[in-house]
């Protein structure tokens, strides 16, 4: 069930758009902000609130890579794998991160601290390689810099 807070936040968005459906991506992001991810149950609850079918909503949910339909760790690290970062050493950064965390893309560390995902160009190409952790941008990465960044997220 949606919490009162979640429902109020979603309803505040409804006032800004002409259809209920238009709010569905925002609604999933609201739930994700509170719970970390969007479960099957949440899809059903949001769909009911917005008068959509759960299948339609899941079709939208699975299109957008920033909506998580599986549980994630406490922190989500996203490493840019687009072209400028690739030229500037993405493959080395990828190896360092996967070695360091002991997981591959799409996985979560056993202590639930990090989920690791690839991400497209972050618009930080003059400071490549770049990554996001919990939507905060970290640039000019090297192995040491990555270690420092990870340390900051407990």
């Amino acid at each position: 069930m949606l919490t009162v807070e979640e429902r109020e936040e979603i309803e505040a968005e409804l006032a800004r758009y002409p259809t209920k459906e238009a709010v569905c991506i925002d609604a999933m992001k609201i739930v994700q902000r509170h719970r970390g991810w969007v479960s099957d149950e949440s899809v059903r609850d949001i769909a009911e609130l917005l008068e959509m079918s759960p299948a339609d909503l899941d079709g939208v949910a699975t299109f957008y890579n920033l909506i998580f339909r599986k549980p994630v760790g406490r922190h989500v690290a996203m490493l840019c794998n687009s072209v400028s970062c690739w030229i500037m050493g993405y493959e080395k950064m990828h190896k360092h991160l996967t070695d360091r965390l002991g997981i591959q893309f799409g996985e979560t560390t056993p202590d639930n601290r990090f989920t690791l995902l690839p991400i497209v160009c972050l618009g930080a190409c003059d400071h490549a390689p770049a990554m996001l952790v919990d939507n905060e941008l970290h640039t000019d990465l090297g192995p040491e810099r990555i270690d420092q960044v990870l340390e900051a997220y407990k």
Binding site: Y17, K29, N81, S82, M88, I119, N135
Partner: protein, 427 residues
Amino acid sequence: MTQERPLTEAIPLDGQALSLRGYEQVGGYQGLRKALREMSPQAVQEEVKKAGLRGRGGAGFPTGMKWSFVPMGDNAPRPKYVVANADEMEPGTFKDRYLMEGNPHQLIEGLILAAYATQADVAFIFIRGEYKLAQERLAKAIADAYAAGYLGKKILKSDFALEMILHVSAGRYMCGEETGLLNALEGKRANPRSKPPFPPVAGLWGKPTTVNNVETLANVPHIIAKGLTWYQSLSRSRDYGTKIYGASGKVKRPGLWELPMGTPMREILEEHAGGMRDGLRFRGVLPGGASTDFLVEEHLEVPMDFIEVQKAGSRLGTGTMIVLDDHTCPVGMTSNLIHFFAQESCGWCTPCWSGLNWAKQILAAMEEGRGEPGDLDKLAFQTKFLAPGNTFCALAPGAAEPLQSALKYFREDFERHILEQRCPWKS
């Protein structure tokens, strides 16, 4: 004489956003005041059309002409919409983030002017989810603009009213495609729509909608405030104004520079970006993001504008260059690019989802030493299916551009991969 940089010269050097007060002190919102005081919506359209402003998001479509397609007058369908496309996700492109973080009000004023010119009722800024700092600064700037009377009812005591909504997206390159963006705003998957009708006639919820890129809109207040003659004098070519150019890859000083439109590529790469890093040689460049054809050494003198880059066989695109050096594998780079496009294909059109995945597999195999004779013909064949006219949107044709030009300019590198059954750049 120092070169004017209207779009970026007011951006604070300490990394902070220019405040509303700071923006007003450098002439901010004077374009809007002038338009509301003495110009009809059509006159604003006409001024932007005459200024020759072309879209800075990649396609280079004339902005004033796009606006002129919107039905005007009392019988036009309402509400009408304007959208700032702030979904900057073209690999190698980082200019709109800089503009939004540094001078959010410039975008807001440009969007208000676009709304006035098309008699729109609601404005959206569609920003990608990853641009957190830009979102925070735009949200504050919009609130400040409402409080100062630049948004809402009776703007600057005129009869013009406009609501502005910041819409934070949830990922996917497809959202930057004009009609994919509209579907995303409606809460749908960001598949492209069949065109015609084009969005200025039937866009969001079937109503007239104009979508313009952030840098494009940032030009508008300056054109209106300072006029055509001034605007056209900024450029070194027949495409007018300034352009925010960028360079990434292994140049000495990667970055962004606002320069006269038509500045030659060599001048940008050597004087501004400092040339190649020591010990590296220039091999090629994607002049305007991932979806533009490679250019090579013989093109370095090309003036970077829409007309001349096209003549050289590529596109100005976003004007942010990605440089390939001789220590980086051109096949690996092409493989990375096609991997991106294959991943970001929405799956709507067969030549795109099927063709790009096929090309992706061939290129990845080549990099892993499993290239086969005939692969290059297969890749060339795919670029024909990916060409304009076979798909609903420009993702597939855009993906074909780096692939077809890589096959042309780096053919011997591809052949070596197949012959030696390895990537020569991997030790």
